[in-house]
Amino acid sequence: MIPLCIARNMAKTKKITKHKAFTFIQELGGISEYLHKKNGLRVLLWEDHSAPVVALNVTYLVGSRNEAVGHTGATHLLEHLMFKGSKKFNKKTGKLIDQIVFGMGAKANATTWFDRTNYWELLPSERLPELIELEADRMRGAILDEKDRASEMTVVRNEFERGENEPMEALDKEIWATAFREHPYHHPTIGWRSDIENMSIERLRQFYNTFYWPNNAYLVLTGDLPSGCLNLVEKYFGRIKPSSERIPKMYTTEPAQEGPRRITLRRAGQMPIVGIAHKIPKVLHQDQYVLDVLAGVLGKGRSSRLYRALVDPALAIDVSVNNSSFRDGGLLITYARLVSSESPEKIEKIVLREYHKIIKEGITEEELAREKYNARIQRAFTLDGPLGLSSVLNETIAGGDWRLIERFVRGINKVTLSQVRKVAEKYLSSETSTTGFFIPYKSEPRI
């Protein structure tokens, strides 16, 4: 039996290195990069014909790092409004964005984060031309209407409220807001509630007209690409002009932290949470490979040091260590959700004890080998279907260099034991720490 819908066809089309509208930049790991000669749009292509499916992703280099007080959450609210209609795709033309996208059975969404906004679809490959046309149309033709803003504001506000329901999310917001005082990583991507409620449509239009241009975007196409894919991109995106003004640079930098910071969040709940964060450099910094290994050894999986110290003896329900680094820096954060009888102070001491062990003694060869092998396998999984690769590329583009996806495994492979100890010493200092406790006050549900 041969199921046709998952039939494989491994034949690849010939790689294009010359095109009238695009300059071929480079190829790395099977990913080809092109630059549109006239409007500056960057295009990344990766072919895999093993399933008749394509992932389409448009990444705009604008995120909440481009916002300031009064319009926090603008990037995200704008992202929602981008589904309301564009020049060709609107109520009057009878071609509605959601109806087209979901009508073909695509998985689709958009997301906003500190450094970027992206619109993605995973779709049957024969429908690709329609969605390229749609994404091109809303790049400069979005209809940003006050009536839509008013109804979408309450939708976004409910998204904000849902986040506030979660103690972990609420604590995370407090920690970032405390660790970053001047840099816009201070505020959450969804924005502050009063900004969400009061931001004007004029402000959102201004934001759109500043940042939504081909020379501030990447188009990523992965999967079962048709031959002549670049012609298709040229047909719809090629007619868009680049911005007449330069895309403004975000110049605010976070000054060096000069001492530990602490916050406490008290709300109704059951279980305390401890969060311990340390400042780390930007995602393209060489130390990032080492920090990834460090985060893995500390908190990835049940063989990690903090899992063994906290979860195995049932002091905590779970623990995670995230290397959350972005374009301008970030935080290495440990979160532990405690069992209710344990005190946050005790857990904090245990976490710091494990940090100091690594600062003093380093990690073992076995631990380093484990991280290296896991990085290699993790990379192999990014090539499993078009969406995985597209999602990782979206993040590496946001970080400042899509080629990070290829450099990642090589970088991890070069990490040495002494580097891990030195990097732990460099970044896990108490002077750059921000510690947050979620302290619940007991409140029983009642019917």
Partner: protein
């Protein structure tokens, strides 16, 4: 080049595999009848599943986790109402190591007393934590309202579960394990860089002589014509969760099952559904609302439900709008245009869900579990395409009754 799905019946095991385009890695799925319906204490199967990796007669918990994680093998085991479900992802070159270890974990767990103590403490904390979760509380209360105590979908309160947990003995776990872990109804699905013959040989070698059982789920039927409304107050919550549900008695192998799917899709299956359009897009009342069904694949009386989240002050308006949309849907059904759109969307969705080896493995195991031939993967879009408007709207009338809806909301809302 095309490669077929390979399928084989080993002793007490149905094995299916598909070699996708990815290289060097694969996804593994397995399940068998060891869920909560087979135990008088509903927590026992889940506790057994979580104890499996905490030590075997050969290896300690630390050794097991070291083997798994130093070889980049991700393994997750959990029990639902009917089955123990095993999900793993691994490098293809680690197949033998994985099957060897999985066999040891499933066949010779140690159930150490000290590990049970630690696990119980963590589970208790987890139970306390969900008391603050609006979605979980609304959902559990809905199931508690609709199903009688002996039904596998009935949900105990956290207090009762904690009491059960405290009285749990190692012997209870061992007894359940001895009775329900074995061959007979085991399904295994593999997708990715898979060598079927090698896997078949490994499975045969390490599981071929396992005890043969005949655990079959006994379909749990129930009746419920409740029409109630409950609010659960949880302090300090900015958003409330709402569920509206009723029983759904539907044979998963029947044509009616396929007919109710596009009907549900039109009501609340995606962004263009009636619920999302009326409640979110037009009125801005919610971030998310949908319609779905649950619990029908093993012949049980399942559940049809609507869900939404609302700021507490918008909850009543939200409920009224959802009800309005729902009542028009039950009264008038869907239109021809909507059915065409749903058919196209569902077929496209099916194709997209098979885009990676994880998706393929999920579909393979699901098809094996409902006992269909694997040709169903190709047939599904054709069945959907063949549905008539009459069939779809008759299914709504036959199975859904707006007079029998239980409505439960949880959040910072008063009665």
């Amino acid at each position: 080049m095309r490669e077929p799905i390979k399928q084989e019946n080993l002793r007490g095991i149905s094995l299916a595999s598909f070699r996708t385009g990815v290289r060097n890695v694969l996804n593994f799925r397995a399940s068998f009848m060891a869920g909560s319906r087979f135990s008088s204490v509903s927590l026992v199967p889940e506790v057994v599943s979580q104890m499996l990796e905490l030590g075997t007669t050969k290896h300690s918990k630390e050794e097991i986790v070291n083997i798994l994680e130093s070889n980049a093998i991700s393994l997750d085991m959990s029990a639902d109402e009917t089955r123990l479900n095993i999900k793993a992802s691994l490098p293809s070159e680690k197949a033998q190591l994985f099957v060897t270890l999985l066999s040891e974990i499933l066949r010779t767990p140690k159930f150490a007393e000290n590990e049970l103590t630690f696990l119980s403490k963590r589970l208790e904390a987890g139970l306390l934590e969900v008391k603050q979760d609006t979605r979980t509380q609304a959902w559990k209360h809905l199931l508690r309202s609709i199903y009688p105590g002996e039904h596998p979908f009935y949900q105990e309160t956290e207090e009762k579960d904690i009491m059960s947990l405290k009285s749990l003995k190692r012997e209870n776990l061992m007894e359940f394990h001895a009775k329900h872990y074995g061959l007979g109804n085991v399904n295994i699905a593999l997708a990715g860089d898979v060598d079927h013959e090698m896997w078949s040989g490994l499975i045969n070698k390490f599981f071929g002589d396992w005890q043969l059982l005949s655990n079959m789920p006994v379909s749990a039927k129930t009746k419920s014509d409740l029409k109630t409304r409950k609010n659960i107050f949880i302090s300090g919550k900015a958003s409330a969760d709402l569920f509206m549900g009723q029983i759904l008695d539907l044979d998963v192998l029947s044509r009616d099952y396929f007919a109710i799917r596009p009907a549900t899709y039109v009501l609340g299956g995606d962004f263009v559904s009636r619920l999302m359009q009326e409640v979110r897009e037009k009125r801005g009342l919610t971030y998310g609302t949908n319609a779905s069904h649950f619990g029908i694949k093993d012949g049980d009386t399942g559940l049809f439900y609507l869900w939404g989240t609302f700021a507490p002050h918008l909850l009543e308006r939200g409920i009224a709008e959802m009800r309005k949309v729902f009542e028009i849907w039950t009264k008038k059904g869907i239109t021809n245009k909507e059915l065409s759109r749903a058919k196209q969307a569902m077929s496209g969705n099916w194709k997209v869900s098979l885009a990676d080896s994880r998706g393929v493995a999920d579909v393979l195991i699901a098809v094996l579990e409902i006992g269909r031939d694997l040709s169903f993967i190709d047939e599904y879009p054709k069945i959907i395409e063949s549905l008539t408007l009459k069939e779809v709207n008759q299914a709504i009338k036959k199975y859904i009754d707006p007079k029998k809806f239980v409505t439960v909301a949880a959040g910072s809302i008063e009665k």
